[in-house]
C-alpha cells in the first residue's frame, strides 16, 4: 500500500518544483506541457491501448476550448461551470462522432477521424455569428488568483494530475485490459465475449473527454481560442507527442508532451525551423526507437516487457 502511493506522490512533488523555481516564461512553458500531457494521453488511449489511429483529436480539444469560451463570453457563467460545460461538450461531440467512427477500422478509421476533425474546423470557421469565425474568441481571462501564471500552473497540475490518475486507473482496469485485447486481435476479443464496438466507443468518448479537458485548460491559459485548434495539423500534434513518448506506455504521454513542449520552446529560442527538427525527430523515433522515449528507457532498464510496449496497430 505504501509503495503504491509512493510513486504518484513523488511525481506530483517533482512536478510541483518547476512552479516554484522556474522563471515566468518557463513556468508558462511548463503549464503548456502539463496541459498537453492530457492531449497526448487522449491519443495514446486510442492508439496505444486500443490500436486505433486517430488523426482527429484536435476536434475534441477545440470543442472543449470553445465550449468553455462560449459559456464564459456569451452565457457569463461561473468559471468552474464553464470548465465543466467545455468538458461535457467535448465528450458529447466525441460520443456523437465516435458512434460513426468506431464502425471502421485501420486506415478507414484514421480517415474518418480526419474528416470529422476537419468538418469540426469548418463548422467553427464558418459559424461567424457564434464562434467569431477565424477571429476566434479573445479575452478569456480566468478569475482572481488564477491570473497569476504560477497559480495557474498549480491549478492545471491538480486537474491534470487527477485526470492522469484516472487514465492510469483506466489503463490498469479490466476495461483497459479488454481494450488491449481489442488492439491485439479484435476477432479473438469478440470470441471471448467483448463487445468490440461498445468498448471502442467508450474508449473514444473517454479519449475525447481527455482532449476536452486539455482544451478547457488551454483556453484560459492562452486567453484565446481559434478554429485552427481543430484542424488536422493540431490533431497531428497529439499524434506526434503520443508517439514521441511511446503510445502504449503508461508514462508515454507525460514524457512525450513534456519533451515536445520544452523542446519547442527551447528550439524556437534560436531558430524558426522547429517543423524541420520535429520532422527529423519523428523519423528517428519511428525508424530507430519504435517504442518511443519510454520504450527506450525501459529497454535500457532491462525491462523484459519493453518490447511488448511498442505502440502499434496489430
Amino acid at each position: 500500500m505504501r509503495t503504491k502511493w509512493l510513486i504518484p506522490s513523488c511525481s506530483v512533488a517533482v512536478l510541483a518544483i518547476p512552479g516554484v523555481v522556474l522563471g515566468e516564461f518557463w513556468v508558462k512553458v511548463a503549464t503548456e506541457a502539463v496541459i498537453m500531457v492530457l492531449f497526448a494521453a487522449s491519443f495514446s488511449l486510442l492508439y496505444g491501448q486500443t490500436g486505433l489511429l486517430s488523426f482527429g483529436q484536435g476536434a475534441y480539444f477545440a470543442v472543449g476550448a470553445y465550449g468553455f469560451a462560449l459559456s464564459m463570453t456569451s452565457l457569463h457563467l461561473a468559471f468552474p461551470l464553464c470548465l465543466l460545460i467545455g468538458i461535457v461538450s467535448a465528450a458529447l461531440w466525441a460520443w456523437l462522432t465516435g458512434y460513426l467512427c468506431v464502425r471502421l477500422a485501420g486506415i478507414y478509421f484514421a480517415i474518418m477521424t480526419v474528416v470529422v476533425a476537419q468538418s469540426t474546423f469548418y463548422v467553427i470557421f464558418q459559424g461567424y455569428g457564434i464562434t467569431g469565425g477565424d477571429n476566434g474568441i479573445q479575452g478569456l481571462i480566468p478569475p482572481g488568483a488564477l491570473q497569476n501564471p504560477r497559480v495557474y500552473y498549480f491549478f492545471t497540475l491538480v486537474i491534470v494530475g487527477v485526470s492522469y490518475y484516472a487514465y492510469y486507473r483506466l489503463v490498469g482496469s479490466p476495461f483497459g485490459l479488454s481494450l488491449r485485447s481489442i488492439r491485439e486481435n479484435p476477432t479473438r476479443a469478440r470470441f471471448v465475449g467483448i463487445d468490440v464496438r461498445k468498448h471502442t466507443l467508450k474508449a473514444f468518448v473517454l479519449s475525447g473527454m481527455f482532449a476536452g479537458i486539455s482544451g478547457v485548460l488551454f483556453a484560459p491559459f492562452t486567453r484565446t481560442v481559434v478554429p485552427q485548434m481543430a484542424d488536422w495539423m493540431a490533431s497531428g500534434k497529439a499524434v506526434f507527442m503520443g508517439i514521441l513518448g511511446g503510445a502504449a506506455h503508461l508514462l508515454g504521454p507525460l514524457v512525450g508532451a513534456s519533451v515536445w513542449v520544452f523542446l519547442d520552446a527551447f528550439v524556437s529560442g534560436f531558430t524558426v525551423h522547429w517543423p524541420l527538427i520535429i520532422g527529423l525527430l519523428i523519423f528517428l523515433i519511428v525508424f530507430f526507437v519504435p517504442g518511443g522515449l519510454t520504450g527506450l528507457i525501459a529497454s535500457y532498464a532491462g525491462n523484459p516487457d519493453a518490447h511488448d510496449e511498442r505502440g502499434q496497430i496489430s
Binding site: G106, V114, V115, F240, H273, P275, G279, I282, I313
Partner: protein, 293 residues
C-alpha cells in the same frame, strides 16, 4: 440554362484538379498500400518549381510550357530520391508508422519550401494563349479552364492506357491484386514500386503546375486541398483509379453548385458525402469490398 452550363463547366475544371492531385495518391495506395500524406507537399513544391523555371526562362517564348515540363522532370528526380531514402523503408511497415513518417515529411518538406522560396505568395503569369476567352454561342469559357480540363482528361487517359494496355500496367495491376506473387514470378518488385511512386509524383507535379494557372502559389495551397482530396479518394474507393475519376467529377460538381446556393457549407458537403460513404460503403463507389480490412 447558361448559368447551369457555366457551373457544370467550372465544376468539371475543379474535378480535373481533384483528379490530377488524387489519382497519384490513389494509385500509390492501390498498388503499394501506402497512404502518402506528403503527396500534397510534393504538389505544392511542383507549383514552386513551375514558378522558378518560369522566372528563369522569362525571356523565351515558351517559358511557361518549358517550366511545366521541367518541373515535372525535376519532381521525378526528387521522387526517385525520396523513394530511395524514405519510401522504400516504409512499404513493409505498419499503417500507423507509414502515416507518421509521411506526416513528418509534410513538416520537413513544408519547412524546406519556406526556406527555399519564402512565405510570400508567388504569381505565375500565364502565356497569352491561355488568357483569352473562348466564346461558344452565348457562353464564355476562359482558355485556362479549358486547358486544365483537357490536361485532366489527357493525363487520365494516358494513365489509363498505361495501366490497361501496356505490360508495365499489367505488372502494376498484378501488384494491386496479389502483391506476394510478383517476386515469385521474378519481377523486381522494388523497381515496380519505385515506378509507381515516381508516376504518382509526376501526376502531383502536373496538378501543381496546373494550379499555378488557377491561383497563387503559396504555403497554404496543399493544406486546403488535402482533406478534400482524401474525401475524393474515399468516395471513389481507395486504390480505384476509375473510382477516383468518377468521384472527382461528383465532388467537383457538388462543390461548384454548392458554392452557388450554399457557399458556406460547400466544402462541408464533400466531407459529409465522404462520411456517408465511409459508413455505408467503406470501400467506395467503385472499390472492391473486402480488399482492405
Amino acid at each position: 440554362m447558361e448559368l447551369i452550363i457555366n457551373q457544370v463547366f467550372s465544376g468539371l475544371v475543379r474535378a480535373s484538379l481533384y483528379f490530377l492531385v488524387t489519382s497519384g495518391l490513389t494509385l500509390l495506395f492501390g498498388v503499394v498500400g501506402t497512404l502518402n500524406m506528403a503527396h500534397f507537399s510534393l504538389y505544392m513544391i511542383a507549383s514552386y518549381f513551375t514558378w522558378t523555371f518560369h522566372n528563369l526562362l522569362m525571356d523565351y517564348r515558351f517559358s511557361f510550357w518549358a517550366a511545366f515540363v521541367l518541373s515535372a522532370m525535376t519532381m521525378a528526380v526528387l521522387g526517385i530520391v525520396i523513394e530511395k531514402l524514405v519510401m522504400r523503408r516504409l512499404y513493409e511497415r505498419e499503417l500507423g508508422e507509414q502515416l507518421l513518417i509521411t506526416f513528418a515529411m509534410v513538416y520537413i518538406l513544408d519547412d524546406i519550401t519556406l526556406v527555399a522560396w519564402g512565405s510570400t505568395p508567388l504569381f505565375v503569369s500565364r502565356p497569352d494563349i491561355l488568357t483569352t476567352i473562348v466564346t461558344v454561342g452565348t457562353i464564355n469559357l476562359p482558355a485556362t479552364d479549358i486547358f486544365i480540363l483537357l490536361l485532366g482528361l489527357a493525363s487520365g487517359c494516358a494513365t489509363w492506357y498505361l495501366l490497361a494496355r501496356t505490360s508495365t500496367g499489367r505488372i502494376l495491376r498484378a501488384a494491386y491484386s496479389y502483391k506476394e506473387m510478383l517476386p515469385a514470378l521474378g519481377i523486381p518488385i522494388h523497381r515496380t514500386y519505385m515506378g509507381i511512386f515516381v508516376l504518382s509524383v509526376v501526376l502531383a507535379s502536373i496538378a501543381g503546375s496546373a494550379w499555378t494557372m488557377m491561383g497563387m502559389v503559396d504555403l497554404g495551397q496543399a493544406h486546403s486541398l488535402l482533406i478534400e482530396s482524401f474525401c475524393v479518394m474515399v468516395i471513389g474507393g481507395m486504390g480505384s483509379f476509375a473510382g477516383t475519376a468518377l468521384s472527382a467529377v461528383i465532388c467537383g460538381l457538388t462543390y461548384s453548385f454548392a458554392i452557388l446556393y450554399v457557399p458556406k457549407i460547400a466544402t462541408l458537403l464533400i466531407f459529409a458525402l465522404a462520411g456517408i460513404i465511409l459508413i455505408v460503403r467503406p470501400w467506395g463507389l467503385l472499390g472492391q469490398a473486402g480488399r482492405l480490412h
